[in-house]
Each structure stands twice: as C-alpha cells, then as structure tokens.
C-alpha cells in the first residue's frame, strides 16, 4: 500500500484561519491533486494503471461532509470488488453515463457546461466561448489532441488544478498578492462555471451510472466543489 492519500479539503476549510504560507501552499497542492484526479476520471475511461493507482489510495472516511464521505465510500467499495473484467465494465459504464444512446439530450450525464446551460441543451454554446476566453486570458489553450469542446468538465477541473498549482508556486516565492489574485480567479471560475452546472450533471450521473465508481465520483465531485467553494470564500474573506 502506498502512502498516497486523498486530501481533506473539508478540513482545509476549517483550518484556513490559522494557515501559514506553507500550510496554504500545502492545502493548494492537495486541492490541485484532487482537481487533477477528478479531471482524469472524467477525461477518458479508467485504464489498468489508473485502476491500480486508485486501489493503492487511502480515502478519508469522515470528512465532515456527507456527500464526500458517500463518494469515497462508494469508490472504495467498488475498488474492493474489482475483477479481471473491471476495465471493460468501467468503459461500458463510462459510455452509458457520459455518452448515452439516445438523441433527446436527456439520455446521459453529458459532461459539457453548454448542455446544462443552453435552452436547447446543445453543445458548443455560450458557455464554451466564455470558458475558452478565460483559459486564454490565463495563457492556456487546449491541446491539439483534445477533440471535444473546451467546456468539458475535465478541462474545467484541470483549469482549477493548473491555477491551484500556480498558487503554490506564488506562495513558495512569497508572492502573496499573486496568490490571492489566482485564488480569486479560481473562486470566480468556480462560482460562474463549475458550481453553476456540475450539480445538475452529477444528479444525472447518479441516475445513469451503473457502477459504484461513477456513482461515487458524482457524490465526490459535488461535495468537493462545495467544500472548495467554502474554502476559497473563507480564505479570500480573510484578505479583504
């Protein structure tokens, strides 16, 4: 068993008050780690390496948030019962959960902000243009290998991961103002984008997912985003 652990963001919200620069950097490393893991789970199907990595992780049992606890419990339950064909099962469930088989726009938990924020549930709508502009404002653009819209949940989560990592770098070089600016961007992005549509998507995930891994991911995502929002509000209100 490796020592990799899932960070406890809910505890982070509680301890933000007394956080020193190093503590804050550590919390942001953990935030980046969780955003990175969530982003990976949404980006593509689980492969052998990731499954192995997940099985070696420790998940906090009591974070103080029921949805996060339920998410970790379901994921740990799934990982305790993997078998030789789990990769195939997960690939099937990924397709069932995020792609679906219908044409009525209500047949899956579509992982795109545009679907949940446009009247006709269409892809590549205003939300995509907005997030693309924000990525570019931060000097980011999608890689050529990415063939989906930029408002895919994996990219929105990765954006938060990158900014959390930049916050760590700013804190390490003692640039407190830079760190605050980055945290403010993360909070605004969370408020305006992720928090505005992901709870609807995770509600759909709970309906469509057939495995505990993706059901757990739904609970974990909504719980983590809510906890992270509280953390960012806390930390930024201290600075005002």
């Amino acid at each position: 068993m490796t020592e990799s652990r899932i960070p406890e963001i809910t505890e982070a919200a509680e301890t933000a008050d007394e956080a020193t620069m190093e503590d804050l950097a550590q919390l942001n490393r953990q935030r980046a780690g969780t955003y990175g893991l969530l982003s990976r789970l949404y980006r593509v199907e689980v492969d052998e390496d990731l499954l192995e990595e997940l099985r070696a992780m420790r998940f906090p049992a009591r974070t103080g948030r029921a949805d996060v606890d339920e998410g970790y419990r379901l994921i740990a339950q799934y990982l305790s019962n993997v078998w030789a064909n789990s990769i195939t099962d997960l690939a099937v469930d990924y397709a069932r959960t995020f792609i679906g088989h219908g044409i009525d726009a209500f047949s899956a938990a579509y992982p795109f902000e545009s679907v949940y924020t446009s009247e006709k549930r269409l892809l590549m709508q205003e939300a995509r243009d907005e997030v693309l502009a924000i990525y570019r404002a931060e000097g980011l653009d999608k890689q050529d290998s990415w063939k989906e819209g930029e408002d895919h949940i994996a990219l929105e989560l990765e954006f938060e991961q990158i900014l959390a990592n930049r916050t760590v770098e700013a804190l390490e070089r003692g640039d407190e103002d830079g760190a605050i600016a980055l945290l403010t961007t993360q909070k605004n992005f969370l408020d305006d984008h992720l928090a505005a549509w992901v709870p609807m998507m995770t509600a759909d995930m709970k309906r469509f997912a057939g495995t505990d891994l993706y059901r757990g991911l739904a609970y974990l995502t909504e719980g983590f985003l809510a906890a992270d929002r509280a953390f960012l509000e806390d930390i930024l209100s201290e600075q005002e």
Binding site: R58, P60, R73, S80, N85, K120, F208
Partner: protein, 289 residues
C-alpha cells in the same frame, strides 16, 4: 411535375387578407401566451424526470435457452469461441483463465469482441454466471473496504477482492450439448450431395500439414465443371465447412477433427478432377500455359 399543397398546414389566403397587425384588437397577449406555452428545456427535463427519468430498456424475459440460441445464431462468427468458453466453464473457472483461452482462440481472428465482451454477452443471455471459486453466486459475496487509522485520521482502503470465476449455467450446458458439429456436417454433405467431391477436395487439401492457403483452395475448386453452372466459388464451400466446425482458420485453412471425420464419411467419393483442377491455375489465379 405538380405539387399537392393540400397536405400542408398553411393558413388560407382569406385568413391572411383579414390579418391587420396594426389593428387595435390584434391579440398580442395571445401571441405571448403562445410563446409561454412552449415548453422550455427545463420543463421538458422536469417532465422527463417525472416520467421516470432514464428510459428503461425492457428486460428480455424470454427463457435463457431461447436467448442463448439467439445469441449463438446472431454471433455466428464467434459461435465456436463462445461454445469453447462454455465447455471450459463446466466448473468454476477463474475469469483470467477464460480470458486467456479466448485470446488464444482469437489469435488468428481480428475480432472487435474481447473475452470480457463475449462473456458478458453469454452472462446476459443466461449461459454463464459469475461465481466464487466454491461456486457461490458472486453477487452474494461483496468485499468491504478496510478502515485504517493513520495519525489519528480514519481512512478507507480497498479490500482484497474475492476471486471471480465463470460457471456455465444449466441452460449454457444444454446449449453446449445441443451443439453437434459432426451431425451438422453430415446434414450438409447429404444436402449438398452433388458437391461432395468438392467438399472432399477441400478437406483433403486442408488436412495436409500446415493446412491450405486460400489461393490453393481456389485453384483446386474454381475451374471444376461442377461449379460452373450454377457458378460457385471455393469460399462458398469453405464457409459452409467452417460453419460446421470442419475447418478453422490458423493463418491457413486447417481441417479440424470434425473435418477429418467428414473425410472418412466421404471415403467412397471418387474425385477424378482433383489433380487437373489443382494444376490448372497457379496461386495467383492465372491460367498456366
């Protein structure tokens, strides 16, 4: 060409003549009501939710025997592999072993179906079930995560999974027993009695060490007077033999045990054209001088 516009729901000319957008009595509110009455996507979503959310696919309630027959018929190219899986699973067989068997059977077959796909289809049809090594249904045995405490904090770790095996169900075993390739071959040879000599020629070629390449079989069959009218080509006969499990593709067509048994059935058939046909074309199908 004329067009019949009577099927279209267009307003009549008279109605349009009466319409005055500037008139006081133009029903603006009605138009607004009309828009308001259009269902928004949110309302559609709520309605969809109310109807039961996810559209459920009706469960196939037919008996397992029927579902298995359907599966084997609709997946004809994988039939032999699926039956081999059932044969292997007369007792609980670890999933990894079954996967290895299928990979071996499919090594010369570019199939989009993995071992996991085929076993999932067999399970869905009721031919296989997931069990533990001692035969207990796997769904009844669920490993729980372990709870560990590190630095006073409680964590969950993945528990050790129970080894899962595949086991053929009664219906699966019945399907396996009902499969009699030798009888199918006998029926084929009776039904196609006029072409017994062709079948014999193909089986003879494929019984040789290393089997027979397709161009060699084509060369031996395609110029035979028997297949000129109606016109048949060698793959027609190869396909029929393969469906009876008399031939298998191993980078060449190779006669199986069933195929060799078929040759014995055809022992009395005299093949007068065998040699001439074999030498009438070269491997590329070009006529020799």
């Amino acid at each position: 060409m004329t067009h019949d516009s009577t099927k279209f729901s267009l307003s009549s000319g008279e109605e349009l003549d009466e319409f005055d957008p500037l008139a006081d009595d133009f029903d603006d509110e009605g138009a607004a009501d009309g828009l308001a009455a259009m269902p928004s996507s949110v309302e559609e979503a709520l309605a969809h939710e109310k109807e039961g959310g996810e559209r459920s696919v009706p469960a196939d309630e037919r008996p397992a025997e029927e579902r298995i027959d359907d599966l084997l018929a609709s997946m004809a190219p994988q039939r032999k592999i699926m039956l081999s899986v059932l044969a292997q699973c007369s007792e609980p067989r670890p999933v990894a072993q079954v996967n290895a068997l299928v990979d071996e059977l499919q090594q010369n077959n570019f199939s989009v179906y993995s071992a996991a796909n085929l076993c999932a289809l067999l399970e869905k049809a009721g031919a296989l079930e997931r069990v533990t090594a001692d035969g207990q249904p796997a769904d009844d045995v669920e490993a729980e995560p372990r709870t560990v405490v590190v630095d006073g904090v409680e964590y969950l770790e993945a528990g050790e999974p129970v080894e899962i095996c595949w086991l053929a169900t009664d219906a699966g075993r019945a399907a396996l027993e009902a499969d009699k390739p030798l009888e199918r071959l006998r029926e084929l040879l009776d039904r196609d009695a006029a072409y017994q000599v062709i079948y014999k020629r193909i089986l003879t070629l494929c019984s040789a060490e290393g089997g027979a390449k397709t161009p060699d079989i084509n060369a031996a069959v395609d110029n035979d007077p028997l297949v000129q009218k109606p016109r048949f080509y060698a793959p027609h006969f190869v396909d029929k033999l393969e469906k009876c499990d008399a031939l298998s593709w191993q980078k060449a067509w190779v006669a199986t045990e069933v195929g060799r048994a078929g040759l014995e059935m055809l022992a009395d058939v005299v093949d007068e054209h065998a040699k001439g046909s074999e030498t009438s074309e070269d491997a590329d199908g070009k006529e020799q001088a």
